[in-house]
Symmetry: C2
Subunit: 258 residues, 2 copies
Amino acid sequence: MRVTFLGTAAAGGVPLFGCDCLACKRATGDDAYRREPCSALIESGDTRILIDAGLMDLHRRFNPGDLDAILLTHFHPDHVQGLLHIRWGRGERIPVFIPPDEEGFSDLFKHPGLLDFRPQKAFAGFRIGPLTITPVPLAHSKPTFGYHFQDLDHARFSYLTDTCGLPPETSEFLRQQPPHGLALDCTFPPRPEPQGHNDWPLALEIIADISPSRAWLTHIRHDLDEWLIREQPALPDSVEIARDNGTSVLAGEPHGQV
Amino acid sequence: MRVTFLGTAAAGGVPLFGCDCLACKRATGDDAYRREPCSALIESGDTRILIDAGLMDLHRRFNPGDLDAILLTHFHPDHVQGLLHIRWGRGERIPVFIPPDEEGFSDLFKHPGLLDFRPQKAFAGFRIGPLTITPVPLAHSKPTFGYHFQDLDHARFSYLTDTCGLPPETSEFLRQQPPHGLALDCTFPPRPEPQGHNDWPLALEIIADISPSRAWLTHIRHDLDEWLIREQPALPDSVEIARDNGTSVLAGEPHGQV
Ligand SMILES: [Mn+2]
Ligand SMILES: [Mn+2]
Ligand SMILES: [Mn+2]
Ligand SMILES: [Mn+2]
Ligand SMILES: [Zn+2]
Ligand SMILES: [Zn+2]
């Protein structure tokens, strides 16, 4: 299974429009430090799945037929805004797996165009190509799913944004099958009381609890990037700050050894 | 007064995602034929005003302080979607003049961030720098304003999207002060019964009625572009098909001669 972070930013991105903090200045000067809206591409064999659709240039990055499915974590604009444009396209409909949310976003349900919305149930796994995918509930201000992927070689990857802490049943599910890779919401530098999203200590606490082989912090706000520049905090060996366009290959156990 | 069409497309743009019609193929091969979401920049002296905010890369095209105001015609996604991203920015708030519409778009009213929304009344003119701007009602599926600009040299420009025909009071207002330039919704090739937007014959009828010195057809759908390639229809001398990034300077009468 190959995981590529297409975007790793909280709403507003890095650089933030008009901001001249250290992190935003660095990203303005060097594209390698830019962060686009949080999203990832999961590939296995010929199967390609996009998690979240907040990239404003989705219609230029992909052609119809490039994606087998889109999985939406939730209907906040920074995770779906790219769909406003591509829905009017031509071609095969694109399956879009979503959490149950009657409101959706803007007029997407009224005018879905190319998009074939498929509401899912928590913990009810489904199959796309070689991947078995399980939606897991997160703790956010809208109905939100993380997604847990298992490949034919039993490589497991969990993608958990947006969330502040984890519901106990989600922690339990992930502890029972610790992922080889975990991408986790880490929006804020340390805060007295994180709301809506994990801050740095809460994200590290969750990672310690789940014990993935590797973890990436994502959905990063410019002020977390600035704090990282200033504080240079230590990280466990297995944990990285995700970067846009960073790709990793996750391998599971050989067949028959699980 | 200088008018630049930043985008001239109907929702979905040209090329349309996945479309291989003549117009979309032409635009894929040559950027000069691309059409981004319908919007325009109006400049007079140091004053810069953006009409509509559907461009997905607004945050890259402009810096805070570049714009004195944004005028929204209405709250359909293709006219406002670029605001979802830039609202989270830093800096001076941006005045955003809007038609009265309680619904707005997505959570923009709930989380306006940088945006300072200012609902306007039909025919109640207001001033931005040297420009006197009058909102005029249009006929569309949401509350929609066109905007009529008058400069210190009495150059007049009217921007009328999205609309299907014109309300009688708007036609009357414009006939009384025929604009030097008129940009008008022309979304469709000829249709039995245009809905929501002008088709080609209705747009030409409105132009004949208002008698502007020059007119541009805009908010163009890919199938109108395709029809134009095939049919090569004749146009009155004073009427053009708008193109993205096309700029025109409008001059009025010398002072005292109006
Ligand atoms: Mn988010
Ligand atoms: Mn969210
Ligand atoms: Mn429109
Ligand atoms: Mn419209
Ligand atoms: Zn910043
Ligand atoms: Zn087309």
